[in-house]
């Protein structure tokens, strides 16, 4: 019987395909993600780490606290899945990326304004922050993509975009500790643009890297 033959064929074929069970996979993913976080932190500290010079410690504390909250909420929506196990839809992922960015910019600019630090800063157009954001976020994104490589049979592009946006938000949190400038164009170029770039890169790379390979047609 055809369906019985197919059942036997499928049962036989999956025995030949390596697939780590949940615990083993979680352990492997945890190692990769922790390595990525440590790599990003290392780069952050090599480039100077926390720089409170030129701004009061209370401003650093307040901006970091607010940014942590916005980034945390955004990351929760980006990295978790729905109750039925699906990645969230594009509209939710977009909202989970844009809302924290808008909140972060308003918070940072508003606080900078209060402390008189939001005025133009011609020598800091934001390129250094941009490079630093892309570098730290890129390490995080690479680690996430590697941890989920060939493991998303449903929505690899959305997962990649979520990882990219999440990595971008994570790097924004680090750069927030590094950069004293609250001038709006600087924030947009150095802090916001990298998040969009990483999200787009995550979607493009994730589409190829996260999808489960399709084998050739059955004989």
């Amino acid at each position: 019987m055809e369906s019985l033959e197919r059942r036997n064929r499928i049962l036989a074929s999956i025995g030949e395909i390596p697939a780590p069970p949940r615990r083993e996979l979680a352990r492997r993913q945890a190692w990769l993600v922790i390595s990525g976080v440590l790599g990003a932190l290392t780069l952050f500290w090599v480039e100077g780490g926390l720089r409170a010079t030129g701004r009061p410690p209370s401003l650093v504390a307040w901006t970091s606290l607010g940014t942590s909250c916005f980034v945390g909420v955004g990351m929760w929506f980006l990295f978790t899945r729905t109750r039925s196990g699906h990645r969230r839809g594009w509209s939710v992922l977009g909202l989970a990326t844009i809302a924290p960015i808008v909140a972060f910019v308003l918070w940072r600019y508003g606080l900078g304004h209060l402390y008189d630090l939001a005025s133009p800063w011609p020598t800091r157009p934001g390129y250094r922050c941009f490079a630093m954001s892309v570098a730290t976020g890129g390490i995080l994104l690479f680690a996430l993509l590697l941890a989920w490589r060939r493991l998303d049979p449903m929505s690899p592009a959305a997962t990649g975009a979520a990882f990219g946006a999440g990595a971008g938000l994570g790097s924004a949190l680090l750069i927030d500790l590094w950069c004293p400038v609250s001038y709006l164009p600087h924030l947009l170029v150095g802090h916001v643009l990298p998040i969009a770039l990483l999200a787009a890169a995550g979607a493009a790379i994730g589409r190829r890297m996260l999808r489960v390979f399709r084998r050739g047609p059955s004989a």
């Binding site: 197919r6 999956i14 395909i17 039925s84 969230r88 839809g89 493991l151 049979p153 449903m154």
Partner: protein, 221 residues
Amino acid sequence: MRPTSERPPGPDNRVANEAMNRYADGDASAFPILYDAIAPRIEGLVRRRTRDPSRIDDIVQQTFERIHRARGTFIRGSDVLSWAFKIARNLCLDLGAQGWRERPAGGGNGKDGDAGADPIAEAVAEVVDAERIATARETLGRLVRAFRALPEPQQLALELVRVEGFSMAVAAENLGVTLPSLKMSVFRGAAALRDAVLEAAQPRGVRGPSDAEKEQLRGIT
């Protein structure tokens, strides 16, 4: 016979979810249980998109292979059937099974074809009382054509909610849309089907839809 659209979350899903949980934890003996629980429904989904037996076979096999490969990512308590449907649907697109719009292999134009031999008609027939199929054949043909004319999001929403019996929330997550958007798709799709069938019946001038036909339409839409 109860229409499939009214099917409550059956014990099959519970069995399948438990089997998938065990399988994700590394228990290989759970895979045959999982297969037996969900294979017929996956095959039904694929069969509605293509009638090529070798392609159906290939898509079903690859769906299970992908479930197997990604088993470690299955979240405890998730709905494996919803997971599997999304994988199968992606595979249908990848492998060129063009969904409900695929034309019969015989080159029919889909306008006056034999509704009973159409994969969509077969699918819709699943939700119609078997004893009424003969008398509802013409209505069914109109319904099939109206269904084909629906935008794809409405087709997918109706398929998951009305044919496969998913809850609105799970169907929305499956399709990656918001719940209000999914509800709107189901509502608009159902209304369009109802209107198309009723409008097509009116110009004949013989009679409006009988009570039985109305009841049947309510069951479908």
